[in-house]
């Protein structure tokens, strides 16, 4: 199976973002970067599928030169080769721009399956994968928990709201966005790291034909921050207040 996994490099989860002068994006010179966590699960799923069905895993990523770190990390975990779409503005671009650039770079290869994470930890659009599917002209399914491949047919388990699930069959080639936490991520082994140095990374310049369709005009810190709310009163009062907050505020119960 020829599997493509699209990954994004995002600032580390504990990085405290600072807004730039024009308030249109962040200043990330001091940030540490890592592979977007949902994409790591997509990569793991891709590697497991390769393990079961043979073939190769090609990792694709759009971004500036620092993206090579996450590409190497993916190669160290077992991906066979990579495509790096060079684009300095990819991090702040919208899904249309990124998906367009990726589709262009991937068009020459005929992938059987394309996997992406559910959404990115930075902008969190949850769109790039689906837009990419449309651009590549393949069917897609999102929030996938399990992937089964049999011959040329695909059967995937989708997560629905409220604890429901659904199996969907689709022909290959197809694109899937993978739910986080569905498998145990392998770590990059020493042998993998050594082998990664010799693996091929094809660099492609973004054509610039695809532009973002949205623009941030104001970036600021939101008012609410996470604080532990201690609920006082008698047990009956506290219970009532807790249920109310869980229902209306946290929306953790209906």
């Amino acid at each position: 199976m020829k599997i493509a996994v699209c990954i994004k490099q995002v600032p580390a989860r504990d990085w405290q973002p600072r807004v730039n002068e024009s308030r249109t994006w962040v200043r990330d010179e001091d940030a540490a970067f890592e592979m977007n966590e949902p994409d790591a699960y997509a990569l793991e799923e891709g590697l497991r599928l390769k393990g079961r069905h043979g073939g190769e895993v090609v990792v694709c990523s759009a971004g500036p030169s620092r993206v090579s770190h996450v590409i190497r990390e993916a190669l160290a975990r077992g991906a066979d080769r990579a495509i790096h779409v060079e684009s300095d503005g990819a991090a702040s671009a919208d899904a249309f721009e990124v998906a367009g650039a990726l589709a262009e770079a991937m068009s020459g290869e005929s992938f059987d399956l394309v996997l992406t994470g559910l959404q990115s930890d930075d902008q969190g659009f949850a769109q790039t994968g689906v837009v990419l599917a449309e651009r590549l002209g393949v069917p897609h399914a999102t929030i996938i928990m399990e992937v089964k491949v049999d011959g040329g047919a695909l059967r995937v388990k989708r997560e629905l709201e409220g604890g429901w699930f659904q199996w969907v069959a689709m022909p290959l080639p197809a694109l899937l966005t993978i739910q986080s936490g569905i498998n145990q991520l392998r770590y990059a082994t020493l042998k993998g790291i050594m082998a990664a140095k010799k693996k091929d990374i094809r660099k492609v310049a973004a054509s610039g034909a695809h532009r973002s369709r949205q623009r941030i005009v104001n970036l600021y810190a939101p008012k609410k921050t996470k604080q532990t709310q201690l609920i006082g009163g008698t047990p009956a009062e506290a219970a009532r207040e807790l249920v109310k907050r869980l229902r209306d505020e946290a929306r953790a119960i209906d």
């Binding site: 969907v168 609920i231 807790l242």
Partner: protein, 324 residues
């Protein structure tokens, strides 16, 4: 015109649809009072459409087709592309549900139009409407302006607008059929019936809600209290290590740093101190509630909501409250 695409399943309207109606009404107010229409897609829409017609909107459009039941991304996009072409709205609004995440980006790509997702409120910039969304794990808010031509697609975060604030109309809005043609042969997804996971084995990692007990439960014969709370919440029962060590609950129910790492939507810890080995196993839970006699318990650091008190008094009160 503002087009709201509501969501239904098995004929029942999704609560989030009302929230989007409220959002549409707010957006209309900001854009010179544009008319609002609500669309519904599916197989049997009479009941849901009837419910929606109570809203203060201009029209309810039903797109009733056999090919749209069950839901498929290909089917919905084909239908909506035609509907949007026919209706020519300025904005198309959706709730940011699992379903919408599956087909709305594809629709946007098909139409080649802007889509801003997971919006929490409306704002203004340069005399035009802007949409606010949270980025970087909620650390920053971004006001976003859409570019290119109409229609503009927007999805709204669940709970961003209160369903109660959706205005009802003085008289029911007219309900009409919208006709689209869908070639069923072009639908590539073949979905099977949705199901709930059979409760054969305990798999805490899949649980949506968890009630965890720690040493604070004091004795094995007090477990039924925790079980009753779990039942009232539709939650799975879990435990910290001492409980499983003592044999009060099987090892499959232990939450800890190795083996069982859980990330439910709701984690309610009863009498759990929150020592680090337990904490790392559940810190990814979306909403954490701690009930403990000891105000210094590390669990309170992790919790979103905490009650410092005697769980033997608080839990019965909670159960009563939940059953109301």
């Amino acid at each position: 015109m503002i087009l709201v695409v509501a969501e239904q399943r098995d004929g029942r309207l999704n609560r989030a649809s009302w929230e989007v109606v409220a959002a549409a009404q707010r957006l209309a107010a900001k854009t010179g009072g544009a008319p609002i229409k609500v669309a519904l897609l599916g197989g049997d829409l009479a009941a849901a459409a009837g419910e929606l017609s109570a809203a203060a909107v201009a029209e309810v459009l039903t797109v009733e087709q056999a090919a749209l039941e069950p839901y498929t991304a290909d089917g919905f996009v084909a239908a909506l592309a035609q509907l949007v072409a026919g209706q020519a709205p300025t904005y198309v609004l959706f709730p940011h549900t699992y379903l919408a995440r599956d087909f709305v980006p594809k629709l946007a790509a098909r139409l080649d139009r802007a889509l801003v997702a997971d919006v929490v409120s409306l704002a203004e910039a340069d005399g035009t409407v802007a949409f606010t969304r949270l980025i970087f794990q909620g650390k920053l808010a971004a006001d976003v302006v859409l570019e290119g031509e109409a229609p503009y697609l927007v999805t709204f975060q669940a709970g961003a607008f209160s369903a109660d604030l959706a205005e009802r109309g003085a008289s029911p809005a007219p309900v009409s059929r919208a006709d689209v043609t869908i070639d069923a042969a072009l639908i590539r997804q073949k979905p099977e019936a949705p199901f709930r996971e059979a409760k054969q084995a305990v798999d805490l990692s899949q649980a949506q809600r968890i009630v965890a007990v720690g040493r604070g439960i004091r004795a094995r014969d007090q477990l039924p209290l925790a079980e009753a709370l779990a039942k009232a919440l539709g939650a799975e029962l879990a435990a910290s290590r001492p409980i499983c060590d003592a044999g009060w609950l099987p090892i499959e129910r232990q939450v800890g740093s190795s083996g069982q790492t859980v990330a439910p939507k709701l984690y309610l810890a009863l009498g759990v101190s929150g020592a680090i080995q337990h904490a790392v196993g559940m810190k990814a839970s979306k909403t954490i509630v701690a009930i403990n006699k000891d105000a210094e318990a590390p669990m309170f650091e992790l919790a979103d909501y905490g009650i410092v008190g005697d769980l033997f008094e608080v839990v019965p009160a909670l159960i009563k409250e939940l059953q109301r």
